[in-house]
Amino acid sequence: MPNSIPGSDDIARHVLPNGIVVLVRENFDAQSVVVTGSLAGGAIFENPVQAGIASLTAEATLYGTQNRSYDSLHETLESAGMSLEVSAGRYLTSFDGKALAEDLPILLDLMGDVLRNPVFPAEHVNVIKAQAITGLKYNLQNTRYMANRAFYELTYPVDHIQHRGSTGTLETLSGLTREDLAAYHEQQYGPGAMILAVVGAVKTEIVLAEVEKTLGEWKNDRQNTDFSQPDVQKLNEIQYRAVTLPGKTQSDIVLGVPGPSRYMEDYVPASVTNHVLGVFGMFGRLGKSVREEQGLAYYCYSSIEGGIHQGPWRVIAGVNPNNVKQAVDSIRVEIERMINEPISSEDLADSKANLTGRLPLRLESNEGVAANLLALERYHLGLDYLRQYNDMINALTVEQLQAAMQHYWTADAFSLAVAGPELNGAAY
């Protein structure tokens, strides 16, 4: 059995002349190949009056190119059982493809074509726009979506992309035209900040030759690659918003603060602290209290996002509206414990054992490996990061974890958003 943990001796890293970084790892145990990557094209580069354009443009790239009609493109993809998606988040435009290994050249060719040469046919753009508006209207009635949206608005400055999000509004989406999408593509799609990872039953030299052929000549001097954002301040009081949605039977709670970016030194200790708080076992300490002991919720967990800028560190729970205050109180108790008391050595040992022991499982699939390769490159972690991971986790101390908790959390300063039926009393 080969070493299941990728490292510098079995990851090929190649930089094309236009700056695109290509990472390849061969895996002949599977019959498929996964191609995944991202470039500087997310909502951060939008004009706010066109909010949602990054997302709509990404979707619309798949509706025909200068070389292929919509029909031809999708017949080629689906006839071979391939998949190809392009999507935009807050910072990046991402593309993900999967195929049987024998079809890799076709997949790469299609991917290059949709990224470089989309034509945005008006009739398809109108259909995609209608879909996006319908999807947004649906989400405006979705408790989870609305609680998160309120949380982001409470937590981040109004001119920060975390505040605005990437979905746009009904107003901005309605105003977008095919010309707008084409212009956004012309400006923002290019090799800037682009990383591509290919993992599967393919030879590295073949991958590199195909990628060079497809993307090697791509240039775009207009592409904005400046990811800078306003500073995010630590919250200094409780910020609360309730969103009432008629006809719902459960309330969604999001309680949190701005967490670390993936570049910050205390990201790793913070993520281990989060693991103790709301992940280990059945949702960590939060799950033990809110779900297992009190039976208040089917889910109550915490997550830490990291990312290019300070993503949220938040607790998410779904509870009966009559139990919102009890659940919020219990969540606060666990957060205060994490701030004020050092994590027990047993809890720390548990989380370390889990995070290190689960590494092979995280890396079992081609998708899992590819996602990790992208992160190694995007966050400058080094090709041997995964092999050093266990030592790094095992070296963490209780003090480092508590310091990370105290860095981001204060007992009486957080954002709290609740979406669901009308509440009878206070939420906190």
């Binding site: 209608a130 059945m282 889910y299 290190t356």
Partner: protein, 436 residues
Amino acid sequence: MTVLRRMGSGHEVTRHVLENGLVVLLKEVHSAPLISFWVFYRVGSRNEQTGQTGVSHWVEHMMFKGTPRYPAGVLDREIDRNGGIWNAQTSFDYTAYYETLPADRIDLAIEAEADRMVNALFDPEETESERTVIISERQGSENSPMFWLNEEVQGMAFRVHPYHHTIIGDMADLETMTRDDLYHHYRRYYAPNNAIVVVVGAFASAEMLEKVKAVYGGIHPGDAPPPVVRKEPPQMGERRVNVERPGSTAFIEVMYRAPAVSNPDWFAFAALDSILGGPSGPGGGNIDNKTSRLYRGVVETGIAASASGHLYMTSDPFGYTITLAVNDDRTLEEAEAALDAVLDGLKTNPITQKELDKAKKQAKAAFAYATEGVTGQAYWLGYAEMLDSYTLFTDFVSRLEAVTLEQVQQVAEQYLRPSQRTLGRFIPQMENEAHA
């Protein structure tokens, strides 16, 4: 008794039956140092009576609430401490539990699953605490319009057979079932002669079989569980139901009667499903459906925001569903007409060999994707064995490849008749905006 079968990458699946009736499926996969260990029980919502709907799913939750050997919470910690994952799922026809662990830790799963096959506590306090968790799970689903619509359509499509009710169960039953109801259900269905063990991963089969025999061989078989006898009578005409609730998006869900997976028609129906709405068999979720007839007919035309079909794999005849989310500026009537036009088109514009060939290639690719991880492989082997035979999965591609154009056309004509469907419409009641 041992049977060998090859699959996918050339590894053999071996099937064994222990003296107590426990079926054991083993497949070696040495691409990663992992093993996935599953136990399937032949019990699901199909085995439930009115008054106890949802009991199988609630029992599944109680299986995580401890035994004398592993009190509540201990295994959560142990599995996680050992770098593994574990979970469970309840379906119409089965309840399944699994652990995927580093290969050298798999004994923990083997021991734990054997222990809770017979020793789950069902502590009364834990039962009450879990009642509110289960109700919360249902209420979380109720926040989605599609949950209400699906519950109504399924309930109307099946009047007699227990497929009538949803897996989560009716709120009335979740509020009133007792600890003893749960425990009796557990004792009746959880026994080696009503279970299948599936192990996939980095092990030597002979050694693994001995381990399983040593731990499970001594468990006494139970009485044969009662058969499900309430067959659904033939449907005599289209059934329709409206669900009217607050919301902004209209939906249509249509359920056609469909054959059990053991019926020879099933694979032709799977090809039809792929042609109509994109593949939904093993690994099918990885492949888009923009060239499917449904997408072209109702999404590309701007009438629906999404369209999908799903053919269920079930023990007894169940359903083929088509779901549409209607675009904001279009009506339910337009969507229904467009859907009917697609289905009528099966007669006026018969399925072509090219479409069938595409469905077969998609199945081949999707199957390859589904067999890449040990957890997914173990799931599909167990699921298929639970319904009929694990060869349903190992032979999935070859059986689909054997389907002819005539068979697909015949299945379309036989099953997709308006008289054999239940059509549900979610009618959003107000154009309401959330308010803060």
